[in-house]
């Protein structure tokens, strides 16, 4: 992957000055490249990675496996985009294998998600079936382990 994108994926809050130092570039050049990547839609946004279990207890997450009927001319895209438009849908992917769409849904309560799926998602024409699984506990989020490993001791000075 592109070195700049790699660094931003690790920490999007790194200043342009520091990015420039790491990449042997200049802050202006970095700023220009970032602006272009944003414009091109390569960078979609910047979000904090949060342990919702600690600070946002009112977030319930489910993954929903959805089977849909592909359409002549449009395949899965039209229906997938329609599903993705719902604010409850955090992510939506076309998958290989036993179902078609993997939809990650967020709500405040279990009931809220259940209602969304039974009333909105499952009733869309072309949706053949849904299977919903609720998240119980998070161990790793976006590559960040939630196990707070103690920092292992290194000698302060070594040969």
């Amino acid at each position: 992957m592109d070195e700049l994108l790699h660094l931003l994926r690790q920490n999007a809050r790194t200043s342009n000055e520091n990015l420039a130092r790491e990449l042997n570039s200049t802050p202006t050049a970095v700023a220009e490249r970032i602006a272009r990547l944003e414009e091109e839609g390569v960078i979609l946004g910047y979000q904090a990675v949060i342990d919702v279990q600690r600070r946002a207890a009112d977030v319930v997450t489910a993954v929903v496996e959805v089977k849909i009927t592909p359409e002549r001319g449009g395949g899965f895209d039209r229906l997938a985009n329609r599903i993705a438009k719902f604010a409850e849908v955090q992510s939506c992917y076309l998958m290989s294998g036993g179902y078609d769409l993997l939809v990650i849904v967020e709500g405040r309560t279990l009931q809220e998600i259940a209602m969304f799926i039974s009333e909105k998602l499952a009733t869309i024409k072309g949706v053949l079936s849904t299977a919903t699984r609720f998240r119980l506990k998070t161990y790793k989020e976006n590559g960040i382990s939630l196990m707070r490993d103690e920092k292992h001791e290194r000698l302060a000075v070594a040969p």
Binding site: E3, H6, L7, N18, R21, E22, L23, N24, H152, R154, L155, A156, V157, A158, P159
Partner: protein, 390 residues
């Protein structure tokens, strides 16, 4: 009773390690940001640790053969062939050791008669000269210079060769300077070694950490050199496995056999589960090595620029994870700089002379620490330098 007189003369006369002394001082300070370390900040990649756990679970808690596990020796020979372009026979030409330090010690003890001279470039790794002394050899340092990016030149080497010269020790990429060698210079050095019948101990422990997509050339791969080289390598740096203590030497059978005589009586064999972990590292570790290398490269770019911006010049090294900036513009000696920085700003680095007399005027800073820490350290060093120049 004072036992001082009972200590062997050649051991008694070895000076106290400059690093050791500095470590004792740092140990008394709290909340120090250390650029004084000599090992990766990454923990060993999980799949390698997992292999060690599996090894224990399987009850692999017994001795291995003296030379080391045949599977590991095979994996090493494949790896060395692929990455360094030198072929060794896994049955007779590789020995697994307790870190590359043991391999170096074995090689010296296997080769030296009392009074034989060992040439090495300095500043260099702290154990080189003492290891030669303990093997009853005479350590002959060849100064390298910042103007030449601390490369060893064939010219400088030639001046130090005498009738008693027997061994040349090389360490590129170099701890503490980050220096690397070009193929052209190595060619000239190789020619000298052949002409003067020198054995070369080439410690390439940092070779995977070569940046800017530069080529790492092993002197053992050059024409006519395989048969007069002991190729020394290990897992500590590239695979972040320092605590596993596992290294190896590859050398023609006659030399391996001589080293093996010492190893079998002194050590018997390297740690078994560490050997199992090392197999995993060689077979599946490439991706993690590449990730760590990329991270180090970014940090190197960062810290080199930061030091130069402070007016403490340092070249951009192409290997290892050290920089060796010149601090003479502060008007301080290396020791004063390091002590002052530690006491006043709580940042630890190692005074250059700990690595040899040519290190005066320099300090070693290790960038195997997180960028956040480096960032803070550089701010503090900036303050310190300003105050020192007033």
């Amino acid at each position: 009773m004072t036992l001082k007189n009972h200590v062997a003369n050649h051991v008694r006369d070895i000076p106290k390690s400059g690093i050791r002394e500095f470590f004792d001082i740092v140990a008394q300070e709290k909340d120090v940001i250390s650029l004084g370390v000599g090992e990766p900040d990454f923990d060993t990649p999980w799949h390698i640790r997992e292999a060690a756990i599996y090894s224990l679970e399987q009850g692999r808690t017994h001795y291995t053969s003296n030379l080391g596990l045949p599977a590991l020796r095979g994996a090493i020979c494949n790896y060395v062939q692929r990455h360094f372009n030198v072929a060794y026979d896994p049955r007779t030409e590789v020995i697994i050791t307790v870190g590359v330090s043991e391999a170096l010690d074995l090689a010296l003890r296997a080769l030296l008669n009392p009074g034989d001279e060992v040439l090495y470039h300095e500043p260099c790794y702290v154990s080189y000269a003492p290891s030669v002394t303990m093997a009853h050899g005479v350590a002959v340092g060849i100064p390298t210079r910042a103007e030449e990016n601390f490369r060893l030149t064939a010219e400088a080497l030639k001046k130090r060769i005498t009738e008693r010269s027997k061994v040349l020790m090389l360490n590129f990429p170099c701890n503490p300077t980050g220096a690397t060698q070009t193929r052209a210079e190595l060619d000239k050095i190789a020619r000298l070694c052949i002409d003067h019948d020198l054995i070369v101990l080439t410690d390439e422990i940092y070779s995977e950490l070569t940046y800017d997509q530069a080529e790492h050339v092993s002197i053992a791969s050059l024409p006519g050199m395989r048969d007069r080289c002991v190729f020394l390598h290990g897992f500590s740096k590239a695979f972040a496995m320092t605590g596993f203590r596992i290294g190896y030497a590859c050398a023609p059978a006659a030399l391996t056999d001589a080293m093996m005589k010492i190893h079998q009586y002194a050590i018997l064999c390297a740690n078994t589960m560490a050997q199992d972990a090392a197999i995993e590292a060689l077979e599946h570790g490439a991706r993690e090595v590449a990730n760590m290398r990329r991270e180090y490269e970014h940090r190197r770019n960062y810290i080199v620029r930061a030091f130069n911006e402070l007016g403490l010049p340092c070249f951009q090294p192409v290997g290892a994870f050290y920089i060796f900036p010149n601090i003479t513009s502060t008007g301080l000696t290396s020791r004063e700089f390091s002590l002052g920085l530690l006491e006043r700003k709580k940042v630890a680095c190692v005074p250059g002379p700990a690595f040899g007399p040519s290190g005066e005027g320099f300090v070693r800073c290790c960038y195997a620490t997180s960028l956040d820490q480096i960032n803070i350290a550089m701010e503090r060093i900036g303050e310190f330098v300003q105050e020192a120049r007033k």
